[in-house]
């Protein structure tokens, strides 16, 4: 037999098929199958993402008897404490302050929780990144997914509380949650990808992010009424609304919070606007900013991920 013939034999030739018939089909497959299997190790798959989120949830609630209840109790506790402090001690003029606060705070917490968890996600999985070929973007994305699951459950709890307290919730304004949620998700993913990749090489990114999030918290109208900003900034309010999270927060408030008659609490308005156009316009701008940031985040992540194994 000539060497050429020998070399040209497909791997599934009789010599091998005799030893492992069950694997022969796997190896007589063509290049497209190889390519598909290769892609499965380099492309983000929903299933993998879901498994990772499930793992995070499982690890987090393992060994705690109340399990999930803890993370649901948390926003309730905040609601009670803040209502007490702001409404009774500080005499905030925003009625039903707890609901007002929670309608903005939940999405903010989801955002900041995602971004700060994503920031350390690649570094925390260093041994995996250095040893295994898998789509690295699942690491920050699963952090986002984890926070998103919590957010949805907490939102559900908030709805239940609102309904129990007998406030008005259901209405067409609830539909604002869809575009606002989409913008929030885009913006969160964008920033998560960006900081997670930067943090691999520049480890002080996470410290910087902590400080930034702390300051950022206060430039969203969550513990104060948006009207206060309008009163101070007047025609410059648009600068304040360049922050996509501020737009997301006011949209969530419009969707969930039932304002007092006339939308006024003392001298200031509570909600930014009582219509929809204002929100949709600003969500469009915030969505555009988020998409630009997403492009930047993806670009940075793709560029830097090839060196993750080296930088860790």
């Amino acid at each position: 037999m000539s060497r050429l013939t020998d070399a040209a034999l497909p791997p599934g030739n009789p010599v091998t098929s005799g030893t492992a018939p069950q694997h022969t089909p796997a190896h007589s497959a063509d290049a497209s199958r190889l390519a598909r299997r290769s892609r499965a190790q380099t492309k983000v798959r929903w299933e993998l993402l879901r498994n990772l989120v499930r793992k995070d949830l499982k690890v987090k609630y393992k060994g705690s008897s109340l399990g999930f209840a803890w993370s649901l109790a948390n926003p309730l506790l905040i609601l009670v404490v803040y209502t007490f402090v702001f409404q009774i001690v500080l005499k905030s003029q925003v009625p039903r302050f707890g609901i007002y606060l929670m309608s903005g705070l939940l999405i903010w917490n989801a955002f900041s929780g995602s971004v700060s968890a994503a920031c350390g996600s690649v570094v925390a999985n260093a041994n995996l990144v250095k040893k295994v070929r898998f789509p690295l973007a699942v690491l920050p994305l699963s952090a986002v997914g984890f926070a998103a699951v919590h957010f949805l459950l907490q939102l559900l709890v908030l709805f239940v509380v609102i309904l129990i307290l007998g406030y008005s919730l259901l209405g067409p304004e609830l539909l604002l949650l869809v575009p606002a949620g989409a913008v929030a998700l885009t913006f969160t993913i964008a920033l998560s990808l960006l900081v997670s990749s930067l943090n691999v090489r520049y480890r002080d990114t996470s410290h910087l992010l902590d400080v930034a999030l702390l300051a950022w918290f206060w430039v969203n109208p969550m513990v104060y009424a948006f009207g206060l900003i309008q009163d101070r900034l007047h025609e410059w309010t648009w600068v304040y609304l360049l922050n996509p999270m501020a737009v997301v927060v006011v949209s969530f408030q419009r969707a969930i919070y039932d304002p007092p008659p006339g939308n006024r609490a003392g001298p200031t308005t509570v909600l930014a606007d009582m219509g929809y156009r204002f929100y949709l316009e600003h969500l469009a701008i915030a969505g555009f900013i988020s998409l630009v940031l997403l492009w930047v985040g993806l670009h940075v992540f793709r560029t830097m991920q090839a060196d993750f194994a080296e930088d860790l």
Partner: protein
């Protein structure tokens, strides 16, 4: 999100910007003259004789006239030393891509078909390459055996930690620091791994084997060059790397296999088999943190080998675990071989390479110095690692300075002849093939050896040696008057580094020259008188 991973994803397709630069040194016509069967230049005096009789007994008075005659000098070569080329009588044929029939396919090792199973050897135009690389055609994979990994001109530079900004502050405050001592872990490596090969990566510590493995696996990005990976890769780089101690064995199996690219349905199908292989059925629902290290490794191994990988990467994994587990690993790897899967294997165990691999890549300081049959590669390695003391520093064929041939003539560059009279002028010309990486100053000791390898005299280069660049060089040692010592003599050349005195290689040539006189017997021509005492 879904499409973001296609173009930039590690391992799939790297931007072509980092194309390798062309090899700086065009290949000298080395491969032709390298061939042992090719008549040496100036060997016209030995017309293609294959008489195995050569040197032994040359000093014997009874035989030396014969030995000194021009017909008994075969340009002998050790076929074992040229396994790649040995099968091909014509140097040209060795380069033909068509691999004329040499070896029979082996029934028990379907992948052990010798040369053609790995026709993917690196481009031959690389200095410092030899061995099988000379015997195969251009890089590529034979039709019908698709490449699972294709690497072209990959180099990997590690930037020294001091010279790389490690914080945002540094990044923006100190821009463009001084160029530091970057470390090239890999230099210009071409390797195509065909489906079904078991390839060993070998070399001394720090030679770049593990880096190469990671680059081929698509885990590390090469600084320049392209790597394509086709198919599913599972690594035994670190068993259980993806395990989370807080989760049960079951959850970890699912998670780990999911990371390696399997769907839940596929994992469901494999799950029982994985658990049985790991022998952990009784503990599979316990948290992994309660596993012993052995159980942990076993589960990791079980997952890695069950995910139906197209390429299995093994990095010194057999250093862990007890003997029984090691045997199991080896058995599994052997089973993979039999199934025609591709295995990439990093190990220090040369025995393992010889027994498991059908191709070996030998690395030295980041360069691929050998790509071919394990038997040859391990021999080379043993020489490099100094565990073959009998054969001197490095076998001449693998040395950076290779004494290619010797010839004898009265005048330098003159017509070569092998028979001399005492008192005649003799020039011994040593042809050297100097490759990249050779010492700057090369020092030669040329011994004229007689019967029983007795050195008769020695000739050296001047102090400081010669400065020889890469390429072919000829050094002439001229003896104005041959001593009156009769016999047939051979040449032994020692090459060393003139600066350090470190030996490079030694070659004993089989070519002989003879010194004959009117009295054909005895060793010395001595003036004497014969007189009858009265």
């Amino acid at each position: 999100m879904a499409r973001h991973s296609s173009a930039y994803q590690r391992g799939s397709a790297f931007p072509p910007s980092g194309r390798r630069s062309p090899s700086p040194q065009p290949e000298p016509a080395r491969d032709a003259t390298d061939s042992p069967t090719h008549p040496e230049a100036g060997s016209g005096a030995y017309p293609g004789v294959t008489d195995p009789l050569s040197y032994p007994g040359a000093g014997d008075p009874a035989t030396f006239p014969d030995a000194a005659s021009p017909r008994a000098y075969p340009t002998a070569a050790d076929p074992a030393a040229y396994p790649a080329a040995a099968g091909s009588p014509h140097p040209g044929a060795a380069r033909s891509p068509a691999y004329p029939g040499i070896s029979e396919p082996s029934m028990d090792h379907p992948n052990a078909a010798g040369g053609p199973a790995y026709p993917s050897v690196a481009a031959p135009n690389q200095p410092g390459r030899f061995g099988a690389a000379d015997a195969v055609g251009p890089a590529g994979v034979a039709p019908g055996a698709p490449a699972v990994i294709r690497a072209a001109g990959i180099s990997k530079r590690f930037v020294s930690g001091r010279n790389r900004a490690t914080s945002l502050k540094e990044r923006f405050v100190r821009r463009g620091g001084p160029a530091g001592d970057d470390f090239w872990a890999l230099r210009d490596i071409d390797a195509t791994i065909g489906r079904g090969q078991t390839v060993g990566l070998a070399g001394a510590n720090g030679s770049g084997k593990s880096t190469l493995l990671k680059v081929l696996a698509g885990i590390l990005r090469p600084t320049s060059g392209d790597v394509e990976v086709h198919g599913r890769i599972a690594s035994l780089l670190e068993l259980g790397a993806g395990f989370n101690g807080e989760l049960s064995g079951r959850d970890n199996v699912y998670l780990n296999a999911s990371l390696l690219g399997l769907s839940k349905r596929e994992i469901d199908r494999l799950f029982d088999s994985i658990v049985d292989f790991a022998e952990l059925r009784h503990k599979i629902d316990d948290d992994v943190k309660h596993y012993s290290s052995g159980q942990y490794v076993r589960l990791g191994f079980a997952v890695a080998v069950h995910v139906d990988p197209d390429v299995l990467l093994v990095d010194e994994v057999l250093a862990v675990g007890d003997e029984a587990f090691q045997r199991k690993c080896l058995a599994k790897i052997a089973e993979f071989r039999a199934q025609g899967r591709t295995i990439l294997f990093v190990t220090h165990s040369l025995d393992l390479i010889e027994s498991m691999c059908d191709r070996v890549l030998v690395l030295e300081s980041g360069s691929l110095i050998f790509d071919g049959q394990p038997a040859v590669g391990t021999k080379l390695l043993r020489q490099k690692l100094g565990s073959l003391p009998a054969e001197g520093p490095v076998d001449w064929q693998y040395a950076t300075v290779r004494p290619q041939s010797v010839s004898f003539s009265p005048e330098p560059g003159g017509l070569s002849m092998v028979q001399y009279d005492p008192g005649q002028r003799l020039t011994v010309s040593v042809e050297l093939d100097v490759t990249e990486g050779a010492p700057e100053n090369i020092y030669l000791h040329t011994y004229i050896v007689g019967q029983s390898e007795v050195p008769i005299w020695m000739m050296e280069t001047p102090a400081g040696g010669f400065v020889l660049g890469p390429g072919r060089h000829t050094v002439d040692f001229s003896v104005p008057h041959l001593p009156e010592l009769l016999g047939a003599f051979a040449i032994k050349v020692h090459v060393s580094d003139a600066a350090t005195g470190a030996p490079v290689t030694t070659r004993r040539f089989d070519e002989l020259f003879g010194v004959t006189g009117p009295q054909a017997d005895g060793l010395l021509k001595v003036d004497y008188e014969a007189r009858l005492r009265a």
